[in-house]
């Protein structure tokens, strides 16, 4: 965290200028008032606001497609005034945009919107995560040798998953993450999703509640047995062999760890 020099004229100037970028009331100091009185001050106000809104729109493309440009940019402007970027890598801007949408009154009739935002965020995190090794089914055959359930499946650094109890957020998100048009009805029920980056490109697959619980347990450093138990608590009929195969195929794991 950087701090200003409390006694300096430069600090006073920058405090006043930064405030005036968003506050259109008369600045306290004459030197800043002399700047905001010039029509050209709008260039700075507009550039800063546009830079933040453009970044949010780039980071939340499915949300923007769902609500349209005008709605998105109006909502984003409200978000920007409350939450300026904390880092200059704008790819990461809007970390809590999903929480903002969940509280945002005009979005109350779109219960899937925070979920779509969360999945857009999962995409960004998967895209920029550290490179990692990739575990495939062949590795398990070679390594597990009968004690598979006592080993730990370590989650791949780029794997992100989320479960949405009250809306088919994954179906709605995946239909709006690209420019393609999809037809067909949507069954209204809870859904989850797993996003991975086994190679360069982020990819995604639907995941049920038991699958999400299985990954939660793996991420908490549990053994395969712990993860299986957790998954079965959510769905006693879960097909664990099939689930693990789907997760491996998606690239959810980096390696097998021993727990001794």
């Amino acid at each position: 965290m950087i701090t200003g020099n409390a006694s300096g004229a430069l600090t006073r100037f920058q405090d006043g200028f930064a405030l005036a970028l968003f506050d259109v009331t008369q600045p306290q100091h004459a030197d800043i008032a002399a700047l905001t009185a010039q029509p050209a001050f709008a260039v700075y106000r507009n550039t800063v606001m546009k830079g933040c809104i453009d970044a949010l729109q780039a980071n939340y493309p499915a949300v923007a497609r769902l609500v349209g440009d005008e709605w998105f940019r109006a909502a984003a402007a409200i978000y920007v005034r409350a939450t300026l970027p904390q880092r200059s890598t704008l790819l990461y801007y809007g970390e809590d945009f999903a929480d903002f949408l969940a509280r945002f009154e005009p979005a109350a009739e779109l219960p899937y919107l925070p979920g779509a935002a969360r999945l857009d965020r999962c995409w960004t995190e998967a895209h920029a995560a550290a490179d990692d090794t990739l575990l495939d089914a062949g590795d398990i055959d070679a390594l597990a040798a009968g004690n598979f359930f006592r080993l730990g499946l370590r989650v791949h650094s780029a794997a992100r998953w989320a479960w949405f109890d009250d809306a088919p957020a994954y179906t709605i998100w995946s239909r709006n993450r690209s420019d393609q048009n999809f037809d067909g009805d949507i069954d209204w029920h809870g859904e989850g999703a797993l996003l991975t980056r086994p190679h360069d490109a982020v990819q995604w697959v639907g995941l049920d509640r038991a699958g999400c619980a299985f990954l939660d347990a793996c991420a908490a450093d549990g053994t395969v047995a712990d993860a299986a138990k957790t998954a079965l608590e959510f769905d006693p009929n879960a097909d664990l062999a099939r689930l693990i195969s789907v997760l491996l195929q998606a690239g959810a794991f980096s390696r097998l760890d021993r727990h001794d």
Binding site: L10, Q14, R87, S88, A130
Partner: protein, 279 residues
């Protein structure tokens, strides 16, 4: 790869494949390091693939050298990591501020060029050069406001920063034209007196009339081809100071790669002409 940098292009994501395949002599690419400060993934592997074929310049927009505060250590550390990874031919930043009290304002903000600011910015440049273990170039930004309280002219301020810190300078000719028009000075005089011995890089870009104020205010939008008046200033500069790595910047209304390469060829021809005179 140590080929001399001639004219380069700002690298746009939509041009990665074309950029990778292009074999024009002396071609190099510039990127904003902030877009590559990620832990891993395709952005870094794309940049490394380009780097294997071409020289790279890292042109920062967010170090906030003119803030009355030390550069963010985390940002500086990430920039140093990227420099180790990419081994750029050039590293540059702006004579401006953007991050203040932990918030990033995505713009290049002005300040009064006082003795106090000079001391602070010189310290920030030195800290950056120490962290990166290399000389950086500092760019003249575009100006829109008539700001009272300057104790130094911009050229004297930049020359003094170079003297105190050993930094180089990046001369953005479009910024000179835009600022001269907006704040009322002679762009030709500025170009004629800029200290050529410190110039490590030159920028050329397009600008636009302000949507509300029209030709009374030019905005450094990088969304159009380089203007004829800016080409004229560039040719005037190169005749005086000789060849320097020159970049065509384009951030909005990005055309096909071939169209940007045509502007880049025009800059390369100006440089080639200067070399012939020198020889």
């Amino acid at each position: 790869m140590t080929t001399f940098l001639t004219a380069g292009l700002g690298l746009k994501p939509q041009h990665y494949d074309a950029a990778l395949d292009c074999s024009a002599a002396g071609l190099w690419f510039e990127v904003h390091p902030e877009n590559y400060m990620v832990a891993g993934g395709p952005r870094l592997s794309w940049l490394e693939a380009i780097r294997a074929e071409h020289g790279i310049s890292l042109h920062g927009v967010a170090l906030s050298l003119a803030a009355d505060a030390e550069p963010d250590p985390a940002h500086l550390g990430q920039l140093a990591d990227l420099c180790r990874r990419i081994e750029p031919a050039l590293v540059s930043e702006h004579l401006a501020w953007s991050t203040w009290r932990g918030a990033y304002h995505p713009d290049l903000l002005p300040f009064p060029r006082t003795g106090e600011a000079l001391t602070r910015i010189a310290a920030n440049i030195s800290r950056t050069q120490d962290a990166l273990q290399r000389r950086i170039a500092v760019e003249n930004p575009s100006h829109y406001l008539k700001l009272e309280g300057h104790a130094w002219s911009e050229i004297d301020f930049l020359r003094e920063l170079a003297r105190r810190t050993g930094c180089g300078l990046l001369l953005d000719v479009n910024n000179v034209y835009v600022s001269a028009r907006n704040t009322g000075y002679s762009a030709e005089d500025y170009i004629d007196t800029f200290p050529g011995e410190h110039v490590m890089e030159i920028h050329l870009a397009g600008h636009s009339d302000d949507p509300n104020l029209g030709t009374a205010l030019l905005v450094d939008t990088h969304d159009a081809p380089v203007a004829p008046a800016v080409w004229a200033l560039y040719e005037r500069l190169i005749r005086r100071i000789g060849r320097k790595p020159t970049l065509i910047e384009r951030d909005g209304n990005v055309p096909a790669f071939a169209a940007l390469m045509a502007e880049r060829e025009r800059a390369a021809a100006v440089l080639h002409g200067a070399m012939a005179v020198a020889a």
